[in-house]
């Protein structure tokens, strides 16, 4: 068993361990800036007077706005046994149960969801997945988001 697979086993003992939550009030200006940055022109993301006439009743955020609401205070995990020279973001998964609207107060909490080793052309790679729950101020689950990164020595 390699040093990296031993480390992945150690990480897996920490599955479910949470980092610190982050609470964000979804502001009109932040949503507009985000929409413009991704090149969106839909008035639902830009024009509150238009948005109030729609079934949403308020400006909403584009689907990937969850990326701006994620706590990066990750769970405290054991130190890796080797230095990683390459870290790449590989996957982002969103489950959206309700739209995120301007005025919502959203709390996200990261937790370790998975860790495993795969062997590729460049040797062993460690994949780590962090999963988030997004809840509003009523405690309703609004979205689940998971991201995965790959690292290699």
């Amino acid at each position: 068993m390699s040093v990296l697979t031993e480390y992945a086993d150690l990480l897996r003992q920490n599955i479910g361990l949470c980092g610190k939550p982050m609470t964000t009030e979804v502001e009109k200006t932040a949503v507009r800036k985000f929409a413009r940055a991704i090149g969106e022109t839909n008035p639902l993301y830009l024009d509150p007077e238009y948005a109030v006439t729609t079934r949403f009743g308020a400006m909403i955020a584009p689907p990937t706005f969850v990326s701006a609401l994620m706590s990066m205070d990750l769970p405290p995990l054991p130190d890796p046994p080797v230095a990683f020279t390459v870290t790449l973001h590989t996957d982002d998964v969103i489950e959206q149960f309700a739209p995120i609207k301007v005025g919502d107060v959203i709390t996200s909490v990261p937790k370790l969801a998975d860790a495993f080793v795969k062997t590729g052309r460049n040797g062993e790679m460690l994949f780590t997945t962090f999963a988030y729950e997004f809840t509003n101020s009523d405690g309703d689950l609004i979205a689940n988001v998971a991201w995965t990164e790959v690292q290699r020595p």
């Binding site: 932040a30 800036k33 985000f34 991704i38 090149g39 990326s67 701006a68 590989t90 982002d92 959206q96």
Partner: protein, 146 residues
């Protein structure tokens, strides 16, 4: 007054959508300015997205687009066709196969792979290629029609 789907006259109706249907193609070329705008909007200041020397030292030819930005651009292939006025993105997943770079077109395509009329949902598979025709990004989306 509640705006109806007729606000978006070109938007598809669920009964007109068929499995195998290709969505209108979409492409976008991010600029370095857009990466700066995106870094601020997402609050992601990882230097590989704005610092050329850092990116080169990390083994890249230059600064790299944020994965989440490439994802957002790819999803516009779906939301330009069926915007939230008519359908919600209820699930989406994205895999970054290769990095994408500012100044290079992100050429997106999307295909309807399943339709569930009772649940009023449609599943799509998306792909982005770079100007050399190499796939950089894959995604899956489930839309729920109102």
């Amino acid at each position: 007054m509640i705006a109806q789907p007729m606000d978006v006259p070109s938007a598809p109706r669920l009964d007109q959508i068929r499995v195998g249907q290709q969505l209108p193609p979409f492409e976008h070329t991010p600029t370095k300015v857009q990466l700066v705008m995106y870094a601020g909007a997402q609050d992601d200041y990882f230097p590989v997205h704005f610092d050329h020397e850092y990116a080169v030292a990390a083994g890249q030819p230059g600064v790299v687009n944020h994965g989440w930005l490439t994802y957002a651009i790819l999803l516009q292939t779906v939301t330009n066709w069926a915007p939230p006025q008519v359908a919600d993105v209820v699930a989406a997943s994205c895999r970054y196969v290769r990095p994408t770079f500012p100044g290079e077109a992100i050429v997106c395509s999307a295909t309807v792979v399943a339709k569930h009329s009772e649940e009023r949902t449609v599943d799509l598979e998306l792909s982005a290629t770079n100007p050399a025709g190499v796939e950089t990004t894959k995604a899956k989306v489930t839309l729920h029609f109102s």
